[in-house]
């Protein structure tokens, strides 16, 4: 479906994983015998009808290149759309390698504009889940949202990992406040005019 595309940020730096990510990006970390972490995001997206997927990479991405190749295993080897690696300096107006996710997003602007999908999924490879993102998108559209953030309830099993963002929302899920985890256990409310 051409109304949707996705970016998976493969170089999420997570200091607790240094030992495993010294030679490879987190997405290329072997998991569960036969998989790599990025397989989950990629498969969820493909199973949810996303056929345009870009992966911004910054460093240590050779093992990711080896693993994904032309992404044929996910049926993403296409003449148009399909799978694309987005290394630094791939497009004009990129003056430095990505050191934050936002810079990676800005650096991928040309890619996003070229594929001009109406909806963009932004994913990280450090989540192991089976997820129907099509259902998420349908709800996003029905509710008329600008942004939908996938969350787990506070205290639930899935919330045990490291997370850097927390939300306060009403029963409909409408967000009234965003918190950033400054250091473990300490949240700081994000203040923006009009938020």
């Amino acid at each position: 479906m051409n109304d949707r595309m996705a970016l998976i940020f493969a170089n999420i730096d997570n200091s607790t994983m240094d030992l495993f990510t010294s030679a490879r990006s987190l997405g290329a970390l072997p998991f569960g015998c036969r998989y790599r972490l990025i397989d989950f995001s990629l498969s969820n997206l493909v199973n949810s009808g996303v056929e345009i997927i870009g992966v911004p990479v910054r460093e240590k991405y050779q093992s990711l290149l080896d693993h994904i190749g032309i992404a044929r295993e996910w049926d993403l080897d296409r003449r148009t759309g399909g799978f694309t690696f987005l290394p630094p300096f791939a497009f004009m107006n990129q003056s430095s390698p990505y050191d934050t996710k936002l810079k990676a997003l800005i650096g991928s602007e040309s890619y996003l504009v070229k594929n001009h999908a109406e909806y963009v999924f932004l994913c990280e490879p450090d989540v192991v889940t089976n997820l129907d993102l099509d259902a998420l998108l349908r709800r996003h559209i029905e509710a008329g949202n600008d942004v939908t953030y996938l969350t787990v309830p506070q205290g639930s099993k899935g919330a045990r990992g490291t997370y850097d963002t927390a939300f306060k929302a009403d029963e409909t899920g409408h967000v009234s406040a965003v918190f950033l985890q400054v250091f473990p256990g300490h949240l700081r409310r994000l203040r923006r005019p009009g938020f």
Binding site: G32, C33, R34, R72, E73
Partner: protein, 406 residues
């Protein structure tokens, strides 16, 4: 358009019914039959081709080709998806004024002369799609060139008491062939043809057209074309192959060849990084072995779940072996389910079969009062063997077997 000539084009004969595999080839051509846990028979020949540097392969299909065509696809698992060359499925086809099935092995190639001409090859390698072996054909081509041969036939030394089952080739000390005997009663040599023929294309092309014009011919390589070439004085040589080779054209030999893979004494290695056997993989989860499972001397493929006992068995992808089930000396094809307490021994269990609780399939030779009455048991695809049912040895099952109360 610039055409790049190919040194050698391989033609793989995959059109026969393989009727001696009975229920296993009811719906699929023999080369598409599952083998060794995660392969199909054709994987060996296709992998041999690419490992020998042959990147142009025609697959001649006729009998039940759907499964084979789906499996081969673009040829990518064997790196045979090429812009020029690669793998091609070649079915029989209608012409403006006539149409005919492939009448014999030679006729199948004859009907595809145009395909081979596309590549203007020096050599054409004729292969069967029902043999398990690993062979570097480039060495055979080198021997063919060294002998300045028109035809080279790959041969293997077989035990004298088995020689009468094969096509026997008699050659002089230089390897030049002087005589053929098809399944002789009193074989003059133990040199058996492996059904692997290398021809110089101009020789083969002329021979095929001559054979096709001969209305008395059955258009078969072994019966017609090779004897004709020998009579005409063509330079025909043997190429002695050393290594594992098995014709899996019968249920017994198919079972044997599977057992050979897990027999450490048999020199057939699937783990040689320099000569890999490629296959199309399905993305199945890792195998799961429960704490109740007891497994020894077996292949267990991806997607299997094992709770019972598995001994000297080839478990193919996606099989389920229930608690207290006993599976031994057997070949279990993909997605089969052996329920709790069932016993399967000396059997080939087809794809998608469900063996019900406490059912017993097959028996051990040592438990048979008369060894001559003993044989392996075979269950066709997608059948159900009911609870507590008993399927004796040497049976080939083509229909569901009802269960019975204890």
């Amino acid at each position: 358009m610039i055409r790049q000539n190919k040194e050698c084009v391989a033609m793989l004969l995959a059109g026969g019914q393989g009727s001696r595999l009975e229920v296993l080839t009811r719906k699929v051509a023999k080369p598409a039959v599952h083998f060794g846990g995660k392969y199909r028979i054709i994987d060996f020949t296709l992998s041999n081709c690419i490992n020998s540097g042959i990147d142009t392969v025609g697959i001649l299909t006729q009998y039940r080709p759907l499964e084979l065509i789906k499996y081969v696809g673009s040829g990518r698992p064997w790196s045979l998806d090429r812009n020029h060359g690669g793998v091609h499925i070649l079915p029989p086809y209608a012409r403006a004024n006539s149409s005919e099935w492939y009448k014999g092995t030679a006729n199948a190639i004859c009907q595809n002369i145009e395909f081979i001409d596309e590549f203007s090859p020096k050599y054409v390698l004729v292969l069967s799609g029902d043999h398990i072996y690993k062979m570097d054909y480039s060495r055979m081509i080198a021997a063919h060139e060294k002998n300045n041969a028109d035809v080279t036939i790959s041969v293997i030394n077989v035990p004298r008491d088995e020689a009468s089952r094969f096509g026997i080739v008699i050659s002089d000390e230089t390897g030049r062939i002087t005589e053929f005997e098809e399944k002789p009663k009193n074989p003059k040599s133990t040199c058996a043809s492996m059904g692997v023929y290398l021809f110089s294309w101009d020789t083969l092309r002329k021979a095929l057209l001559a054979d096709n014009a001969n209305s008395a011919s059955s258009n078969d390589f072994g019966h017609d074309v090779l004897p004709m070439l020998l009579n005409e004085g063509a330079r025909m040589f043997t190429y002695e192959f050393e290594g594992y080779w098995k014709d899996v054209g019968t249920l017994d030999s198919l079972w044997d060849a599977n057992m050979d893979l897990i027999n450490p004494r048999v020199p057939m290695r699937l783990d040689d990084p320099d000569f890999r056997i490629f296959m199309k993989t399905s993305a199945l989860p890792p195998q799961y072995i429960s704490s109740d499972a007891v497994i020894a001397d077996s292949f267990v493929s991806e997607g299997c779940e094992v709770y019972g006992n598995v001994d000297f068995t080839v478990l193919s992808t996606g099989c389920y072996i229930g608690k207290n089930a006993v599976v031994r000396d057997s070949v279990i094809m993909p997605d089969a389910v052996i329920e709790e307490g069932a016993v399967v021994q000396y059997a080939i269990v087809g794809e998608g079969v469900r063996v019900g609780k406490n059912a017993v399939v097959g028996s051990r030779p040592e438990d048979s009062p008369n060894r001559d009455d003993w044989g392996i048991t075979v269950i066709g695809y997608d059948l159900k063997i009911g609870e507590n049912a008993v399927v004796p040895c040497k049976k080939v099952i083509a229909e569901d077997v009802p269960g019975r109360s204890e």
